[in-house]
């Protein structure tokens, strides 16, 4: 009797298993075809840094907040007594993307964006000169607009 029950149980459990796999065969797969499609990242994702140079006061609060000391800022006192930023480098080889610098910024000029594909070919490329980046972007904007912003205006 146990013999027959074993055979029946073997067949029955196999059928149950086949049913489960058949169900999964027709459920949509979870794979995202990465280079072709991407998952949208959360709005408070800590990705690549961006600096709004026009807002930045050069107070170094971010550099002081950084636990691994990867932010290097050089400033010069300008004629209008404001600090002019000469250098704003973030060394991402050290950075652990904790976001403390962004929290420390009193004028919300340092931000973390959504980009996460940060691999590059050279170690030099991993030091982000955020001030130069901002200036380049601005000049591109100007080039596409085809007109110069009025002098002294803060955009």
């Amino acid at each position: 009797m146990k013999y027959l029950r074993d055979i029946f149980e073997g067949i029955w459990t196999a059928i149950v298993g086949l049913g489960i796999t058949m169900k999964y065969l027709f459920t949509p797969s979870v794979t995202v075809q990465y280079p072709d499609e991407r998952i949208a990242v959360s709005p408070n994702f800590r990705g690549r840094f961006h600096l709004k140079l026009d807002k930045c006061t050069g107070c170094q609060a971010c550099a002081r907040a950084c636990p691994v000391d990867c932010i290097l800022i050089e400033t010069k006192r300008g004629e209008d007594k404001k600090l002019k930023i000469l250098k704003f480098d973030i060394d991402v080889t050290k950075c652990m993307f904790c976001g403390l610098c962004v929290e420390a910024c009193p004028v919300a000029s340092l931000e973390m964006g959504q980009e996460y594909e940060l691999s590059c070919y050279s170690r030099k490329d991993m030091i982000y000169s955020l001030d130069k980046e901002y200036l380049e972007k601005e000049s591109e904007k100007v080039a596409t607009k085809g007109e110069l912003p009025p002098s002294g205006e803060v955009t």
Binding site: A14, T21, L25, S29, V30, T31, Q33
Partner: protein, 350 residues
């Protein structure tokens, strides 16, 4: 093959050649056709298996090669295997090592000679067709043993030994369950057996009697074990034996084993189709689809079930494997054999 022979004879410049030469030529042409069909099907199976495996595990499987759902994946794999270095271990028995994959493939390919894919697409309609297939597929075990022994690798040898034990054991229930449709048709010729099932789904042997119904399943399970597929893939159990008997093989020689494995799957599917599922006869009594399409669809379905089983069930232990064979399948197929004999006497089919 007879049809090809007639066609060749009717072509003008060939008419003056001797009969034997024409016969040889038609043999070559026929085997080329069958080899082509098998090669295309095997490439399809490899892709199909990976796709089904992927989707069962909520993945996608191959997606990139060739554009649409990675359809060219098998072609790319084939080219990769062709270009690979052919490595023979230093301590290997070179002669046996080189011969083994060809024996395995040749014996599974030779079995297709008596498989009638349609009424006319058949190599040789032997009056002992099914017996011939049983005999020739037994040669596979010799090739596997040669491969395992000549590799001089303990995993290969273990795999080959397991394979020998498994194939030889499972041939018993296969033989016994094949005898049931043979008894029902009163012929060993596969063509006659398939012909006897014409006339709609209810004249297929699987639905003719409860014993035929059971023996279809005993045949199918035993045949899966015979071709070393999961859940009976002990000879190449990758978690225990690296890759079993083909551990040391690479490149084209490995491809031959691979080709033979998938050709064997198709062989099992087509034998089960021909003996139990009506062969080239359609579901309706009137012919709806071409014979070849009927046959291929049914065989492909059985191959799909094999793939489906592979990605559902875990591997058996060696003692469980032998238990399933000797204590379950053999008694059941004996029971079916005797039961169907009694059934034929009392239902007046004898």
């Amino acid at each position: 093959m007879q049809a090809i022979f007639e066609i060749l004879k009717s072509i003008y410049p060939l008419r003056h050649l001797s009969e034997i030469l024409l016969l040889l030529l038609s043999m070559v042409i026929f085997s080329a056709i069958i080899l082509g069909i098998i090669a295309i099907l095997v490439m399809f199976f490899v892709w199909w298996e990976r796709k089904v495996a992927g989707h069962i595990q909520s993945r996608l499987g191959p997606m990139r090669v060739g554009g649409w759902h990675g359809w060219a994946q098998s072609i790319a794999d084939g080219i990769k295997l062709l270009l690979k270095e052919d490595i023979i271990p230093a301590n290997a028995d070179r002669m046996l090592f080189k011969m083994a994959p060809y024996i395995v493939f040749a014996s599974s390919f030779a079995a297709f000679a008596t498989i009638p894919m349609t009424r006319s697409l058949i190599g040789a309609d032997l009056n002992i067709g099914i017996f011939y297939i049983l005999a020739i597929t037994s040669l596979i075990v010799i090739g596997i043993l040669m491969a395992g022994w000549s590799s001089s690798n303990k995993w290969s040898l273990y795999g080959a030994m397991r394979s020998a034990a498994q194939i030889v054991s499972y041939e018993v229930p296969i033989g016994l369950s094949i005898l049931v449709p043979v008894m029902a048709a009163g012929s060993l010729s596969i063509k006659d057996i398939a012909e006897a099932q014409s006339g709609g789904i209810f004249s297929w042997y699987i639905f003719r009697s409860p014993f035929l119904f059971i023996s279809f399943f005993t045949y199918y399970i035993a045949a899966i074990a015979e071709v070393n597929r999961t859940p009976f893939d002990l000879p190449e159990a990758e978690s225990e034996l690296v890759a079993g008997f083909h551990t040391e093989y690479s490149g084209m020689r490995f491809a031959m084993f691979f080709l033979a494995e998938y050709a064997n799957m198709f062989l099992v599917g087509s034998i089960a189709t021909l003996l139990f599922l009506g062969g080239w006869n359609g579901i309706l009594p009137r012919p709806m689809l071409p014979e070849f399409v009927n046959f291929i669809l049914k065989s492909l379905f059985l191959v799909f079930v094999m793939i489906w089983l592979r990605w559902t069930l875990p591997r058996l232990r060696v003692d469980q494997l032998m238990y399933v064979c000797w204590k379950v399948l053999v008694p059941i197929s004996f029971f079916c054999l005797i039961g169907h004999g009694v059934w034929m006497v009392f239902m007046g089919e004898a």
